[in-house]
């Protein structure tokens, strides 16, 4: 699937950021993946390991899954969802539609200056 090309884009973003910070080493990378972005967290994590192993090592990689939000039609509760269908945790009714959960971002990097 396309997680490999996404991993390469993420690596390019890291390289661009590090170029702005001379003499520094990447110690952590944070990526946010929406539950409805069509991207598999585990696959992306694996691809990142493969792609980043060339050029970067000994850093912490944190890929977090961003949920979407659904609203219950029956009781109005807004709740976070990561997969369909969207069952209200309070009353069990189904919500229709979901907002958010589309993210696909590099949220942060951490560097150590030498």
């Amino acid at each position: 699937m396309h997680e490999m090309s996404l991993a390469l884009e993420i690596k390019a973003i890291c390289e661009r950021e590090l170029a702005k910070l001379p003499e520094s080493r990447l110690t952590a990378l944070g990526v946010e993946v929406g539950a409805f972005s069509g991207v598999e967290v585990e696959t992306l994590q694996f691809c990142l390991e493969v792609v980043m192993s060339e050029g970067f090592d000994g850093f912490r990689c944190e890929v977090v899954r961003q949920p979407g939000t659904a609203a219950c039609l029956s009781c109005g509760l807004e709740f976070q969802v990561t997969q369909a269908p969207f069952e209200c945790p309070r009353c069990g009714a189904l919500a229709r539609g979901v907002s958010g959960g589309d993210s696909l971002h590099v949220s942060y990097i951490e560097v150590e200056c030498e």
Partner: protein, 231 residues
């Protein structure tokens, strides 16, 4: 030695999204309505397009960009319908990207195109992540795929504006409830406009092509009024 945290907040696909925005501007400047067709392999994208262009080519100027992993079979099938077609072979790529589409648009005369169809690579997951600069995404689901596909592959249904249920002629042979499938799709995206079609019998094609023609007309009207209101 000091540690530092840098807030990057950069979209992984920012470069690709920027190119898609350029394509969108190009299409809008030429008054082209563009549809990005997404489905699993074999759901009936090419067959639907063959029927659709036959029904619409007398009244509108059409164009097709046909993506495939290998071969230009789909493009060749569509060329027989005497409309401009550009083929993209992704060579293993699981989706079309904005770069490929931008390049293939060079081969079409956008100033003489009203309605552009982009047939994406057969895949219900990856193409939904990539903006191609289209006016809207249309997701196809055939009746042989099972009612739960919208729940298993929500991203494609969430981002689509239209669902075309295909191969309805086969329903009598299957244990498949179209209503249930559509309900699942609307659970993910209640705003979906839905067409139930068969490219074999022609069921639903008048509604589908009529709706598309309406979208083109709205675009032309908005563009026309925008221009006359200008300096």
């Amino acid at each position: 030695m000091s540690a530092e945290r840098v807030d990057v907040r950069e979209k992984v696909l920012s470069a690709s999204d920027q190119l898609a925005a350029e394509i969108r501007a190009r299409l809008e400047a030429n008054g082209v309505f563009a549809v990005n067709l997404i489905s699993s392999p074999g759901s009936g994208k090419t067959t639907l397009l063959e029927r659709t262009v036959d029904l619409m080519k007398e009244s509108l100027r059409l164009g097709v960009v046909a993506g495939d992993v290998q071969t230009r079979n789909d493009a060749d099938r569509l060329l027989r319908h005497e409309i401009p077609v550009e083929a993209i072979e992704t060579g293993g790529g699981c989706h079309l990207d904005a770069r490929q589409v931008s390049k293939s648009l060079e081969g079409l005369d956008l100033s003489k195109t009203d309605l552009l169809f982009i047939e994406n690579v057969g895949n219900l997951v990856c193409p939904s992540s990539f903006d191609l600069g289209e006016s809207m995404k249309v997701v196809l689901m055939s009746v042989t795929e099972g009612e739960d596909k919208p729940l298993k592959y929500p991203a494609a249904f969430k981002r689509a504006r239209v669902l075309v249920l295909t191969k309805t002629d086969l329903v009598p042979h299957l244990q498949f409830s179209p209503d249930h499938a559509i309900e699942n799709a609307r659970a993910v995206n209640p705003d979906l406009t839905v067409f139930s079609t068969s490219s074999y019998t022609g069921e639903g094609l008048a509604e589908w092509t009529g709706w598309l023609a309406g979208q083109v007309a709205v675009l032309k009207r908005n563009k026309g009024s925008g221009e006359s209101a200008g300096p």
